[in-house]
Symmetry: C5
C-alpha cells in the first residue's frame, strides 16, 4: 500500500460500467517528506478524501472489485484510509 | 489504474490466439501535467480510444481475460475509461 | 519481498474496518548499502518492528488478508521478518 | 503487457523442472522510440522470436503456467506476440 | 522473471514461521551488462545459489508458497534458475 496525496479527480463518460457512480481520484505516491515517487494511480474513493489529503491506496483487485460490487470489474486501486498524521522514525 | 495517453497502436501477425481481432494500443502512463511516467503498456481497447486521448488503463488480468473471452489468455491491461477531463487539486 | 527500513508509522481515523487495530508502518525499500530504492510502502506489522530497524516486507495480498482476518480486506504488504544482519556477497 | 525488444537468451542447467525445454529470452521493455524503460525480464518464448525483434510480453502467471504445463511452476512472463509494426499516434 | 545477481544473504530470528529454515538471498535485478536495475528483492533459494552468481528470480506467490509448503505464507520471490551464460542479441 502506498502513502499518496490526492492530486485531482477525473470524469469519464465512456467507461467500464462497474466504474459508474464512483469518484475516480488521481493519487500521487509520496514519501514522508511529501515528495512524489513514481507514477500517479487512479483510485476508487469510498472515504470522501479531500484534495491534498494524504491517503493510503491499495492495488488489491479483489477488494476493489468487491467495493464496486462487480466480480468482473477491471477496477483496481482503492483508497483504504485517510491519513491523520505520520510520525517519522 | 494508471492515467495514460494513447501513443500508438501495433499490429502482430504471430500472436496468442486470444489477442486475435483486438486493437492493441500503446499507452504511456502520464502525470496530470501530461509528462511520461515509466514504461508504456500495451493494452486491449474495447472503447474505441482515439490517438492522443487520455485514458485509464488497468492491469487486471482476470478482467482482461474476461474481456477477450479466453480464460487461458495471457492478456493483461485494458483501457477501462476514456477521460473527459481532469480537475487538479 | 523487499529489504526495507522502518521510517515511521501513521494513524488514520477513517479507514477500511479491516485495518482497525493494526500498526501501519511506513517501510522504505533499501539496498544493502541502506540507500532508498523506490517508493515507500505502508505495511501491516505483526512483529513489533522498531523504528530504523531493517525488515522484509511482502506484497502478498492473500497472506495479508489472512493476517488481518478479513477475506475482503484491501490490505496488502506486511512485515514478514525483522532482519538481524545481512552478509554482503 | 510491455512492448519489448529481444536482447539475448540464456541457458541454465540448474532450474525449476517446469522450465526444462523452454527458450528463456531476455526482453528489454522499450518505448516507441526504442529506448530502454526499466529492468529487462526473462520470458518464456512460444513464438520463435528472433534476436532484436520487438515483442509483447505479459507478466501473467496463470497463463505462463498453463503454457509450460505445470500448475506449480514459478514461471511468469511469456512472449505473447511478435510485433510487425507500430503506428505512432 | 528478473535476471539478477546474488548480492548477499540475511538472517532473521523473528520471522513468519513459514520462512524458518530457508536461505533468504538478496538478489539485485541487473541488465545483460550486469548493471543494477531497480530495488533488490529478497528471495527464497532452493538451488544453492552462490554469491555473485547470476540467477532468475520469480515473483510468483503461489509457487513460492508451494515451495515453502505453507499455503498461508507471505513468501514471494524465489530463485528459479542458476544462469550458466547469456548470449547477447
Amino acid at each position: 500500500m502506498f502513502l499518496a496525496r490526492v492530486e485531482g479527480n477525473l470524469t469519464a463518460t465512456r467507461k467500464h460500467p462497474s466504474l459508474e457512480g464512483w469518484r475516480l481520484i488521481i493519487c500521487q505516491p509520496i514519501n514522508q517528506a511529501g515528495e512524489a515517487e513514481g507514477a500517479p494511480q487512479v483510485a476508487i474513493d469510498t472515504h470522501g478524501a479531500g484534495m491534498h489529503e494524504r491517503v493510503i491506496i491499495s492495488s488489491d483487485g479483489m477488494a476493489t472489485r468487491k467495493a464496486v460490487g462487480d466480480e468482473k470489474s477491471p477496477a483496481r486501486w482503492m483508497i483504504t484510509a485517510i491519513v491523520d498524521e505520520t510520525q517519522p522514525a
